[in-house]
Amino acid sequence: MQNTSENENIRLLTFNCGDEGYAIDISIVTNIIEIPEITFVPMLPDYIKGLINLRGKAIPVIDTAMRFYGECDEYDRHSCIIVYEIKGSSLGLIVQSVGDVIDVSNSSISGTPGKKGFVSAVVSTGEGLFKLIRPEEIAED
C-alpha cells in the first residue's frame, strides 16, 4: 500500500537508463531477471521489444532507453529486466543496470515536473538524484 502522509517512508528501486538515475516504487515490482530470449512481435512500436517467457507467462518487455530517449542502450552483463505489475498485467522494463533499494521519506520527493510524461517526481538522496517514474504511463502509447 502506498502511503502519502508526510513522514511516511516509501521504498524505491533505483535503476540506470541512458546513464541517468531513475527509481520505481518497489511495491509493484515482482521480479528482476536477466534478459532472456525475446520473441519479436510485429506491428508494435519499436520500444516494445517483444515478449518474454516468465514462468509460462508471455510478458511484453519495453526497452526503457528507447522509450525515454528514442535510442537503444548497449546491453551488457549488468543489464536486466525489471518486471512489474500494472492493472493486473505484468510488464518488463529493460534497463542498463539495477541500483539499490532505497527508503525515502515523502518530504525528500519533490514536485511533479509535468502533468504528463514518464517522470512524476524527483527524489534527492545522499547518492544523488533519481527520477521517479510513472509506471502506468510507460505502457500507454
Binding site: 520473441t39 512481435v41 510485429p42
Partner: protein
C-alpha cells in the same frame, strides 16, 4: 467482520451454489408462469418448496436477513397453496417475487465479501407481508395454525429412556433445523428414540418448539456428555432432564425399537437434501477450478508428450526405434482421447447463457413498454463452460442495448410502418474453430454518419472524418466513452458498455463485429474460440518472427515454381495451382519484417482457405507441426490491435520458446477487404 461462524465457512461455496441453482430455477418458473398467465398448483408448490429450502439453508448459515425474506415469500405462496382459489393480483405478486429473487441473488453475490454488510430487507419483507395480509383479508379469513398438543410421557415408555428438554432462544429462527443438527451431533453419545414434536420436519414444528421446547427421548450411558453437547449447540437457551412422574403404572419393558424413529429423521434429512438442486441419476457436480486444473494438466501432458516423442536426442537412433514408435503412437492415441473427454466434460449448451436474457428482456419490457420478443436460434450449440461464463456479461450488455437503443418506441415503429413484431434474436452456431453468437434486432439501425459526428464531438477520431468507411465508423461505438443515446436510461447509456464488452471478449481471444442497416436493424456478432485450449498449428519462420498458422486453415504446403507465379496489373502476385489462380500474401511484407530468402521460390507457400476465400501465404521456411495452447496477448498490448491485424495470440512451446499465432481469416480480410 466475518458474516459466518468459522465452521460454516467451508459450507459457503456449496450454499452459494445451491442458492444460485434454486433462484435460477425460481426465475424459470416465474418466467414461464408469467407467460402462461396462470400459476398451476404444481408451480405454486414448487415455488413454495424453493423458498422453503432457501429459508432453511439461509438460517443454517445464520443469514437471518435472507431467511426472513424467503420466509415472507414462502408464506405468500403457502396462502395460495392452501387456498388455490384465493383472489390475487398476478402482476403485484410477480413483481414482489421477482424483486425478492433479485435481492436474494445480489445478496448471495456479495456474501463472500466480508466488507459488505448484510443487506436489510425489512421494507421488502413488510411489502410482501402487507400483500399477504391483503390477500388474506380479501378472502375474509385468517389462517391460523393451532399448535397441537402432544403428551410428553406415554405409558408404554421404557425405564431406561430419559427425557431431555431443550429450550431454544426466542430469537432462534428455525429451531427445527437446529434440532435436526443437534440430534445429529448427539448421535455420538446417545440414541434418540423419539422427539416431541414427533415430526420436526412438519410445517408447524418451529412454532411448537419455540413455544414448548423440544423434548428428546433418548438412551445413553453418559448423561453429562449429552447435556454438554446440547448446551454447546447454537441458539440453545436451556437444557434440563425431565423426570417421568412416578405415579404412572409400570408397563412391561418393551423390546427396543429405536431404528424406525432414527431412520425417519435420517430419511427426513435425506429428503431435504434431495429436494435441493435437482440432478439426474448418476450426475455429480464438480468445482470448475478442479476441471480447469485437469484441463491445464492435460494440455501440459499433450505438449510434453510431443516434446518427448519428437525429442532431437532420439534422432540418431530413429532406425532402431520400432517398438518405441509403436508405443509412442499408442500414447498419442490415448492422450488425444483423454483430451477429447476432458474437453467434452466442460461443454455446455449456450442455452444456459441465453435463458438468462429472458429475464432481462422481460424486465425491460415491463419498464419501457416496447413489447420486445426474444427469439433463440441454435441454443443447443455446445461451447466450453468458461466461454458460457464469459458470454453472460457481453450478452447482457448487447441485449440491453438492442432493446433500449435498437428497438424503436411502439409509436415510432407504427409511424415508420413497421408491422413486424419488435424482435431481438439470439443465435449461436459453430464454425470450424469458432463459436459465432449474434445478437440481432429489427430496430432502427445505426446511422454511421451520426456516429462519426458524435465521435468527432467526443474527440475520439484518429484520422480525418472522410477517411472512415462505414464499417470503421460503426466500430467507433466500441471505443471508450462513446454512447449515442443522448439520454441516460436505466439500462444503458452510461458511456461504459460496448468498449468494456469488446475488451472482455478480446481478453479471451474473441472478436466483436458490428453490422447495421438504417431502418432495418443492427447485428452484433461475437466470435469466440470454441474452447480456450489446444490447437494444431504449422510453425513457420517469417523473417525474425516465429509464426504459427492454425492447421484448420491450411490446405496444403508446397514450394513454389517461379513459372507458376504471375503478376496482376496492379502488381499483386498470383500463383497458379492446378489451373486456378490464387493471390499470394507475402507474410514478411504483411508484418513489415525482412524476409530471409531472396525470392518466392526459395521460401514456402501455405495454401489456406478461410471463409471460402483461398489464398497462398508466403513464408521463409517451415519449422514443423506443433500442438499449442493459445494464450491471448497481454492486455497491455490491447491498444495496438494485434487481434485485428492478424495475430490472435501467442503460445509457449515445450522448450520454453514462444510463437505467435496467425489469424488467417483476419489477414485475408485485412489485405483484400471484406
Amino acid at each position: 467482520m466475518p458474516k459466518f461462524d468459522e465452521s460454516l465457512e467451508q459450507m459457503l461455496d456449496v450454499y452459494i451454489y445451491e442458492e444460485q441453482q434454486l433462484l435460477e430455477q425460481l426465475d424459470d418458473i416465474l418466467m414461464r408462469t408469467e407467460k402462461e398467465d396462470t400459476i398451476a398448483p404444481d408451480d405454486v408448490a414448487e415455488i413454495f418448496r424453493i423458498m422453503h429450502t432457501v429459508k432453511g439453508s439461509s438460517s443454517m448459515m445464520g443469514l437471518t436477513n435472507l431467511q426472513k425474506l424467503a420466509h415472507a415469500a414462502e408464506d405468500l405462496f403457502s396462502i395460495i397453496r392452501d387456498k388455490p382459489d384465493i383472489a390475487y393480483d398476478k402482476k403485484i405478486l410477480f413483481d414482489l417475487v421477482f424483486q425478492a429473487s433479485d435481492s436474494m441473488k445480489s445478496e448471495i453475490d456479495i456474501l463472500g465479501d466480508e466488507s459488505a454488510e448484510l443487506t436489510d430487507f425489512t421494507q421488502q419483507i413488510a411489502k410482501i407481508r402487507a400483500y399477504a395480509d391483503v390477500m388474506k383479508s380479501a378472502d375474509g379469513q385468517q389462517i391460523k395454525s393451532a399448535l397441537p398438543k402432544e403428551d410428553i410421557f406415554t405409558d408404554d415408555e421404557g425405564e431406561d429412556i430419559l427425557t431431555l428438554k431443550v429450550k431454544y432462544a426466542e430469537t432462534c429462527a428455525m429451531p427445527s433445523v437446529r434440532a435436526m443438527l443437534l440430534m445429529r451431533s448427539l448421535g455420538k453419545v446417545c440414541e434418540v428414540t423419539k422427539t416431541i414434536p414427533l415430526d420436526i420436519n412438519a410445517d408447524n414444528a418451529n412454532d411448537i418448539i419455540t413455544a414448548n421446547g423440544l423434548y428428546l427421548k433418548l438412551i445413553t450411558d453418559d448423561k453429562d456428555a449429552v447435556v454438554n453437547i446440547a448446551k454447546k449447540a447454537i441458539d440453545v437457551d436451556s437444557v434440563e432432564w425431565v423426570e417421568k412422574p412416578k405415579a404412572a403404572p409400570k408397563p412391561e419393558p418393551q423390546p427396543e425399537q429405536p431404528a424406525p424413529q432414527a431412520a425417519k429423521t435420517e430419511q427426513g434429512a435425506a429428503e431435504k437434501k434431495k429436494s435441493s438442486p435437482e440432478r439426474g441419476g448418476g450426475m455429480m457436480s464438480v468445482s470448475l477450478a478442479k476441471l480447469d486444473t485437469l484441463l491445464d494438466l492435460v494440455g501440459e501432458i499433450v505438449i510434453t508428450e510431443s516434446a518427448v516423442i519428437s525429442s532431437p536426442d532420439l534422432k540418431p537412433f530413429m532406425a532402431s526405434l520400432d517398438r518405441f514408435s509403436t508405443s509412442a503412437r499408442n500414447l498419442k492415441k490415448l492422450t488425444d482421447e483423454l483430451q477429447d473427454v476432458v474437453m467434452s466434460i466442460r461443454m455446455v449448451p449456450v442455452a444456459n447463457a441465453f435463458s438468462k436474457m429472458n429475464r432481462v428482456v422481460r424486465d425491460m419490457n415491463e419498464n419501457l413498454g416496447k413489447g420486445v420478443e426474444l427469439v433463440f436460434v441454435g441454443q443447443e450449440t455446445e461451447v466450453d463452460k468458461s466461454v458460457v461464463d464469459i458470454l453472460n456479461d457481453p450478452l447482457m450488455h448487447l441485449v440491453r442495448n438492442a432493446v433500449d437503443h435498437g428497438i424503436e418506441a411502439p409509436e415510432v415503429r407504427k409511424q415508420k410502418g413497421k408491422t413486424e413484431k419488435p424482435t431481438v434474436t439470439l443465435s449461436a452456431e459453430n464454425s470450424s474453430s469458432e463459436v459465432i453468437i449474434t445478437v440481432e434486432d429489427n430496430g432502427a439501425g445505426m446511422d454511421h454518419n451520426a456516429i462519426l459526428a458524435k465521435a468527432k464531438q467526443k474527440g475520439i477520431l484518429k484520422k480525418p472524418e472522410s477517411e472512415y468507411t462505414k464499417q470503421e465508423a460503426l466500430g467507433l461505438i466500441m471505443k471508450a466513452g462513446f454512447s449515442t443515446n443522448e439520454q441516460v436510461t436505466n439500462y444503458s447509456g452510461r458511456g461504459v458498455g460496448m468498449d468494456v464488452v469488446k475488451q472482455n471478449l478480446e481478453k479471451i481471444g474473441g472478436k466483436l463485429i458490428v453490422e447495421s442497416e438504417m431502418g432495418v436493424g443492427s447485428k452484433f456478432i461475437i466470435k469466440i474460440p470454441l474452447s480456450l485450449s489446444i490447437n494444431d498449428v504449422m510453425q513457420v519462420a517469417v523473417g525474425c518472427m516465429d509464426l504459427s498458422v492454425p492447421i484448420s486453415s491450411v490446405k496444403e504446403i508446397f514450394k513454389a515454381d517461379m513459372q507458376n507465379i504471375v503478376y496482376d496489373t496492379d502488381g499483386t502476385q498470383l500463383i497458379m495451382i492446378r489451373g486456378k489462380c490464387y493471390p499470394i500474401i507475402s507474410l514478411p511484407q504483411y508484418f513489415g519484417v525482412e524476409s530471409r530468402v531472396g525470392s518466392l521460390d526459395e521460401g514456402i507457400m501455405i495454401f489456406c482457405e478461410e471463409e471460402h476465400k483461398r489464398v497462398c501465404l508466403f513464408a521463409d521456411s517451415l519449422i514443423g507441426e506443433q500442438q499449442i495452447v493459445t494464450k491471448p496477448f497481454s492486455p497491455i498490448l490491447g491498444q495496438y490491435n494485434l487481434n485485428e491485424n492478424g495475430l490472435s495470440g501467442c503460445s509457449i512451446l515445450a522448450d520454453g520458446s514462444m510463437t505467435l499465432i496467425a489469424d488467417v481469416g483476419c489477414i485475408i480480410n485485412k489485405v483484400f477487404g471484406k
